[in-house]
Chain length 282, copies 2
DNA sequence: TGGACCGATACCCGGGGGGTATCGCTGCCC
DNA sequence: GGGCAGCGATACCCCCCGGGTATCGGTCCA
């Protein structure tokens, strides 16, 4: 199976429409139809059901969509990491660390400083991204290492080391009536009148249904809370950087958040090993 | 980057010889040379150093070898799992479980029975393989789920659930003078006179240097022990199926062995979820 | 110094991937 | 109900590229 065929199939499977998929791929529709037919013939498997009005995936087709995406990510990763390795050889060694924007704001500078102080430390680029994007960046080679936060982020498929564990706090507008409490429980904060929990986009970029406002990132969330439109339960380390118009109260029975450093299991370079070592020594 | 190019490069990088690589690939040498040149041109990266007497990998080349193997495994997995999904649709649903031959001989039948008793259970094929091969089979789609044994097997890159933990015993010929002891320590058994620890093949199939005999599998190992040529430290569950000419003595300070069930993180089918559930309930 | 070895180059051929034009089917709507 | 719009499949053509053979150029060894 060639990556070209996989790319074609993934495009069609995502669009469920040959014309649009062909447009997205920058080719005409007939060669795309042929390529998919040929792929099905070579696999000996029906991947799509076409009834001239709608295209749908067969069972095997949805397996190939899942597995094919993973395979294409792996190929992209090979490409990107090879190019970067070559740049490194010409005097610019380089690691890319990715983390959620707004998270680990205390840990990250400490980690970078500790690593930079090591002998043989290389340049570390920091990439900040939205929630749920880190896994993808790590898989397709745009990043080499990530700070993830269990149980929110999935660490599936990566090697990890635990760095620290912390409790959670509920973040409220400064004037809200509960801000004087020493602590709260999840039952107190899940349905605050007028302060619904925000909705984050899922893996497909779509928002689940519900009462809360739609948010994309941390800054947006904090601003919504300050406006009295939402509340949120966040790791307690966020208190250190909280704006003056926000308040935080510990939530005793909220699940503990574990910060882990994660990397693709097969790409353990010397530089990455050094960074992980520095992280575990913090 | 096309999988054809990756396959070609991996062949050359493994053989470090264009002629042999071409033969292995079933093509002539000139097209192979051209394909590699083209790959290097497209990547803008030198992958190989040729000085007309020897071919060596550049830094970037060894990165591409590592990443390319992983990517090719992912593509193979997509192919195999798609074909199997199609077979399933025609009335033959199917899971392939792989484990080391000779290991988990108590747990495995219990697991298979427990799963078979579940509603909606599908056929589970069992694949027995040599040590260190499971990870590969899981990655390239020849298997869907594995029983691994920490700390011997690497669980890197897979989702896992712990099933059980056990101590280890040293396995000796029945008449050996230590067999009467109630327990031993690692220091007692690492250098038994005339009974060296065997050597297992590494990831590349080569054996490390050392005094012990070379072994490939469990049966071979037990036979060598019975012959008085070797000894081995194994999980205590192996006692249940020990031959009469062998004896086992607990080793108190040997590392505990944890049996885990492992699967590729992105391929969680309904059938796989059922098997994992059955396993964790044992 | 000549021959063996090995990768690169030159050149040719054929298949297949890509294009345009068009067909055939199916809902939909006036 | 017939025409039409939308969509995937088919027909047909071109030319690029992957594969082959023959040969070259450099290097090590006898």
């Amino acid at each position: 199976m060639e990556t070209r065929e996989l790319r074609y199939f993934v495009a069609v499977a995502e669009e469920l429409h040959f014309g649009r998929a062909a447009e997205r791929l920058g080719i005409a529709q007939p060669p795309l139809s042929r390529a998919i037919q040929q792929l099905e013939r070579r696999l000996g498997v029906a991947l799509l059901k076409r009834n001239s009005r709608a295209v749908t995936l067969t069972e095997a087709g949805s397996v190939l969509l899942r597995e094919g995406r993973a395979a294409l990510d792996a190929v992209d990763a090979a490409d990107r990491r090879t190019r970067r390795a070559a740049l490194a050889a010409t005097g610019h060694p380089d690691l890319v660390l990715v983390t959620k924007a707004g998270a680990s704001s205390e840990l990250l500078p400490k980690l970078l400083d500790a690593y930079a102080a090591e002998p043989g430390a290389v340049t570390v680029d920091v990439l900040l991204c939205g929630p749920g994007e880190q896994e993808r960046l790590l898989r397709d080679g745009r990043a080499d290492v990530a700070l993830l936060h269990r149980p929110f982020d999935s660490t599936a498929g990566f090697d990890t080391e635990e760095l620290c564990t912390e409790g959670q706090v509920v973040v409220l507008p400064a004037g809200y009536h509960l801000t004087g409490r020493a602590h709260l429980r999840m039952a107190d904060v899940t349905a605050l009148p007028g302060l619904p929990m925000p909705r984050w986009p899922g893996a497909d970029g779509a928002y689940p249904d519900g009462p809360g406002p739609e948010v994309r990132d941390h800054a947006q969330l904090l601003q919504l809370i300050a406006l009295g439109r939402a509340s949120a339960v966040l790791p307690e380390s966020c208190r250190a950087h909280l704006r003056g118009d926000l308040a935080a109260v510990p939530v005793l029975d909220a699940p503990a958040v574990t910060t882990v450093i994660a990397w693709p299991p097969h790409s353990r370079s010397r530089a990455l090993a050094g960074l992980v070592r520095a992280a575990t020594r913090l």
